[in-house]
């Protein structure tokens, strides 16, 4: 990477790539979290005919590689009338992938709430919705925080995989620069350092949040 003018020329593309990585990561995390919560609640409180199919879908998503899912969606989609550009396909795929994992994390959290707390809510005459909103969701949040932060980090790292279906995110932009300038290993090294920094920052923020919320923990 001795030729700095080439780097300067490529910089806007790389910066755009970084923003796209961050935007897709945050959007997919938010979508995945909301959808995952919906799945967890539906499976916890819904009838069996809702629980069973969701169990199967979540199992299939968690049991197959993200890369294969993305290929199926992006290359297989057009054959069933689902023609998506790389970026929406990547976002949708990443959100679904996240939703499956988040649903399991959140379901575990719901199941780990001591039944006595729910009973206490019923005893003082809270409605079912109030119990979910005032007791179950807050308690669940504390229980699932570490696993959720972990999942956010996993999703951040999975965004790199989207470069394979030509989403112009960070990995795509930097490796593109690397191959245009015969600087493959330098490009990979820069990527490694940027992702390492981002994952460490996310993990650090998660631990900070955990400490802040620690005071709400019961006993």
């Amino acid at each position: 990477m001795s030729d700095f003018s080439a780097l300067r020329e490529a910089m806007p593309e790389i910066v755009d790539g970084l923003w796209l990585t961050l935007a897709m990561w945050l959007a997919a995390s938010a979508l995945g979290l909301v959808l995952g919560l919906a799945i967890a609640l539906a499976r916890r409180f819904g009838p069996v005919w809702v629980d069973r199919p969701l169990w199967a879908v979540v199992g299939v998503i968690r049991g197959t590689p993200f890369l294969v899912q993305i290929f199926l969606l992006y290359y297989g989609g057009p054959f069933i009338g689902l023609e998506l550009d790389p970026t929406p396909a990547g976002l949708g795929g990443l959100a679904l992938y996240g939703a499956a994992y988040f649903s399991e994390i959140l379901r575990g959290g719901l199941l780990a709430i001591p039944p006595g707390h729910v009973e206490a809510g019923m005893c003082i005459g809270l409605s079912r919705l109030q119990i979910v909103r005032r007791i179950m969701l807050p308690e669940m949040t504390l229980l699932v925080l570490p696993a959720s932060v972990n999942m956010f980090v996993v999703l951040l790292k999975e965004t790199a995989v989207l470069s394979i279906i030509t989403v112009p995110e960070l990995t795509m932009a930097v490796t593109g620069f690397g191959s245009a300038n015969f600087a493959f290993s330098q490009a990979a090294l820069v990527l490694a350092i940027v992702y390492w920094t981002l994952t460490e920052l996310t993990g650090g923020l998660g631990r900070l949040l955990e400490r802040r919320l620690d005071r709400f923990k019961l006993a």
């Binding site: 294969v68 199926l72 297989g76 069933i80 995989v161 394979i164 990995t171 990527l191 390492w196 993990g203």
Partner: protein
């Protein structure tokens, strides 16, 4: 979709299984050493362990594979893609396994080790008879989980040209124009392998007489 294609994908699945088994096994051995380093009282060792775990867990496997694939030839090591892939998978899983094992060792109840001292066991006996077996019981489910993660993550080696299950599906998808079928069958193979690993893990747990802790 003919039977032949399913068999061809099956060979890809064998490659995927082989890559996963090698990297999980070697990764466990390295993971034990890294875990020992990060639990060590010697500061440089401890820091080496911490940085190792942080780096290889913090970098996407795809980037790690690209890095190894391109850096090794520059160091004069002209290795085939499959070796670069194995190194990448092994480094990645060793960091995860080291962290899992560390969690297991740290969470062994101190009272159990004190009890060992009380009955006159030496440090080595306490490690081998009390600490390690209990840590294994605590970490076996997480290690099985890690095996499943690596099995899935190994799909990324297709990027450095290794003919694993995903690569085979990609090649067949472009030659037959049946991407939907190829990737669905590839997904089914991964699911099958993961179910085998999951059941194998719980069977291993029973074999070792481990109850869920």
């Amino acid at each position: 979709m003919t039977w032949e294609l399913v068999v061809l994908l099956g060979w890809g699945a064998v490659m995927t299984a082989a890559l996963s088994i090698v990297s999980i096994t070697v990764g466990l051995a390295i993971g034990v050493l890294i875990c020992a380093a990060s639990l060590s009282r010697v500061a440089p060792l401890k820091w080496f362990g911490r940085v190792y775990v942080s780096f290889f867990r913090g970098v996407p496997l795809l980037v790690l594979l690209l890095l190894i694939y391109h850096v090794l030839p520059q160091l004069g090591l002209d290795v085939p893609g499959v070796v670069a892939a194995l190194i990448g998978l092994t480094l990645c899983t060793s960091a995860y396994q080291a962290e899992t094992l560390r969690g297991g060792f740290v969470n062994v109840a101190p009272g159990l080790m004190e009890a060992g001292r009380m009955v006159g066991l030496n440090a080595r006996q306490i490690l081998l008879r009390i600490r390690a077996p209990i840590a294994l019981r605590l970490t076996l489910p997480a290690l099985v989980n890690e095996a499943i993660m690596i099995l899935k993550a190994s799909s990324l080696v297709s990027v450095v040209g290794v003919g694993d299950l995903t690569r085979t599906a990609q090649n067949l998808a472009s030659s037959t124009f049946l991407p939907l079928e190829m990737f669905a069958v590839a997904g089914a193979y991964y699911l099958l392998l993961n179910i085998v690993v999951g059941y194998g893990g719980s069977g291993l747990g029973r074999l070792l007489g481990l109850r869920p802790a």
